[in-house]
């Protein structure tokens, strides 16, 4: 014990002084004992920005890629899908993460600046509606009920207002922050208009807040990516959603086959054509696509279906040509 304490203290002291030495080392990265493959060593920057939902995928890709190309600096910002496109369409970034397809207005902006791009579907997600473990009544909610809860100016503050058979339990709502594609997607699918939502819920870019908030309140309800549910399956209860064809629980299978309606969605990565001219960007995207299974696994998303993979491969081949 004493030995470990001393060891740690020594380590910590060393840390304080080593930090100084680190600047001298510059970008030397001890964590990557270089790929050592035959691949040529590239360098430069790859700027990724956009959706905080897709962010984990790109971060995982960047992480994995660093083991192969230590000198390429991949930065991943999480400005939100909209924010990401804003930067993307003025050429500030090379790659834009998006949890929804590009909007027409954004397309127009990209066109105006002459930014050409390719759209790649990299993973699937199922927006999951979660409630407290002690919630015994909400097994399945219809889209209409969800809309009643989430629509603008909704006055629902108690579960029994959703369905008279539900108990008298105050409702606490947690949802995605307004910057996120998740918010855009959820509001579009449930409330019928993107960005239209009641406003008196706890919005957060930090899904942990939703997990903690729903865990801490019996009447809590929230929504976020399927990943986060899986991470916290022991703390939360998943709600089935009835999109008109009966109650379906989100899962890898229902997300892949699209039966989890309307909240299953694909996740996108947009690549700028101009940026593909840079060898490191091309190489990174190349890597991203070739290792998509591992990236998705690391980020704990729903993997692509065989069909989607074929499409991706085709898209990629298209890119290679251009």
């Amino acid at each position: 014990m004493i030995k470990t304490v001393r060891g740690r203290l020594t380590a910590l002291t060393a840390a304080l002084f080593l930090t100084a030495a680190l600047t001298a080392c510059g970008s030397d990265n001890p964590s990557t004992d270089s790929g050592g493959d035959t691949a040529e060593q590239l360098s430069g920057e790859v700027k990724v920005d956009g959706s905080s939902t897709v962010g984990p995928l790109s971060k995982a890709a960047a992480d994995l890629y660093a083991e192969e190309q230590a000198k390429v600096n991949v930065t991943v910002g999480t400005s939100g899908t909209g924010g990401g496109f804003k930067k993307f369409c003025v050429g500030e970034t090379d790659v834009s993460d998006a949890s929804r397809p590009i909007k027409d207005s954004e397309k127009a902006e990209c066109d105006a600046k002459g930014v050409k791009y390719a759209e790649l579907i990299v993973a699937n997600d199922a927006l999951s509606v979660v409630v407290n473990k002690e919630n015994t009544w909400a097994e399945c909610l219809t889209v209409a009920q969800l809309k009643k809860i989430w629509e603008p100016k909704s006055k629902v503050t108690n579960w029994n207002q959703v369905d008279p058979s539900f108990p008298n339990e105050p409702m606490k709502l947690f949802g995605a922050g307004t910057d996120s594609g998740t918010f855009d997607y959820f509001t579009a699918e449930i409330n019928g208009e993107e960005g239209a939502s009641r406003t008196d819920y706890t919005p957060t870019e930090d899904d942990n807040v939703t997990v903690q908030g729903v865990t801490g309140s019996k009447g809590g309800l929230g929504y976020f990516g399927f990943t986060y549910y899986e991470e916290n399956a022991d703390k939360l209860k998943l709600v089935k959603v009835d999109g008109g064809g009966g109650c379906v629980e989100p899962s890898v299978a229902t997300a892949q086959d699209g039966s989890y309606k309307p909240l299953s969605r694909p996740l996108f990565v947009y690549v700028s054509g101009a940026s593909l001219a840079k060898p490191q960007v091309k190489d990174f995207i190349d890597f991203y696509i070739q290792n998509i299974d591992e990236v998705v696994k690391e980020a704990k998303y729903v993997p692509l279906t065989a069909e989607q993979k074929t499409t991706l491969a085709a898209e990629f081949a298209e890119l290679q040509k251009s």
């Binding site: 910590l12 060393a14 600047t23 600096n73 999480t78 690391e298």
Partner: protein, 303 residues
Amino acid sequence: MTAAAAAREAVAAPPPPLTQRRIRPGEILFRLALQLCLLIAFAFLVALVVFAVYKGWDRLDARLWQQMPTGRASRVESAGVQSAITGTLWVIALTALISLPTGIASAIYMEEYADNTRWYNRLLELNIQNLAGVPSIVFGILGLGLIARVIGLGFTVITAAIVLSLLVLPTVIIASREALRAVPQSIRQASYALGATRWQTTARQVLPAAIPGMATGAILALSRALGEAAPLILLGAVTFIRFNPDSLLSTYTTLPIQIYNLIKEPQAEFQELAAAAIVLLLGILLLMNSAAIVIRNKFQKRW
């Protein structure tokens, strides 16, 4: 005979013996309450440090500075905050390079050159006092609106350093002025009497005498910059970056921002890493603060 005395003598012709020492419960309670106030303040400090150390214990080792941050939950075990440490070093070193010369030069102007009866010099002083109280996030807005966008330096190391420099400038100026003011007038007069110019007097007599005070102020100002996160949130530091900056125009992240990012991650492993990074940050700050206090105590001259 005055009425007061009459009253006294009427009551007690031979003065009554002194009363016994009284136990005043109010006094004791008051003292205890005061001690409690101090105790609570320090208890929080202790709780904060102990909690961070306890929570980050398993991650307090070489991984912290040898490894890069990760985006993969499966790799948290082998992740660290190296890019945040190097980012912090870049930003703070630049902040020192910008803010210290500027701050000390301003202080020299205000103490040694300026005619303090002039309205513009008084305004200068008032301006600095006010600037010292401007919220740090407002400096972030300045950086976002002016330096990153209008001047176009973008979300880079140099933007962060300029913003943090402006943020701590008042602190540097105020501390340096105090240090200069503590140098007795007689030294200046002696120097002038020997035919020295104003700058010679300042550079060769006043400045050397004021250096310990200035060093203390400088360290405290930089330690403030080191822990500052609010303006950098607006300046792109939140980005996931797993490489060390290598130029003024590199993108970057810093230790406080990295902590902020880690806190937001859902997995407990990230929280542990956040706690370990907090211990590292507190350790650096403690070293800096101790150095400042030692310098102050060691060189504090009583003229």
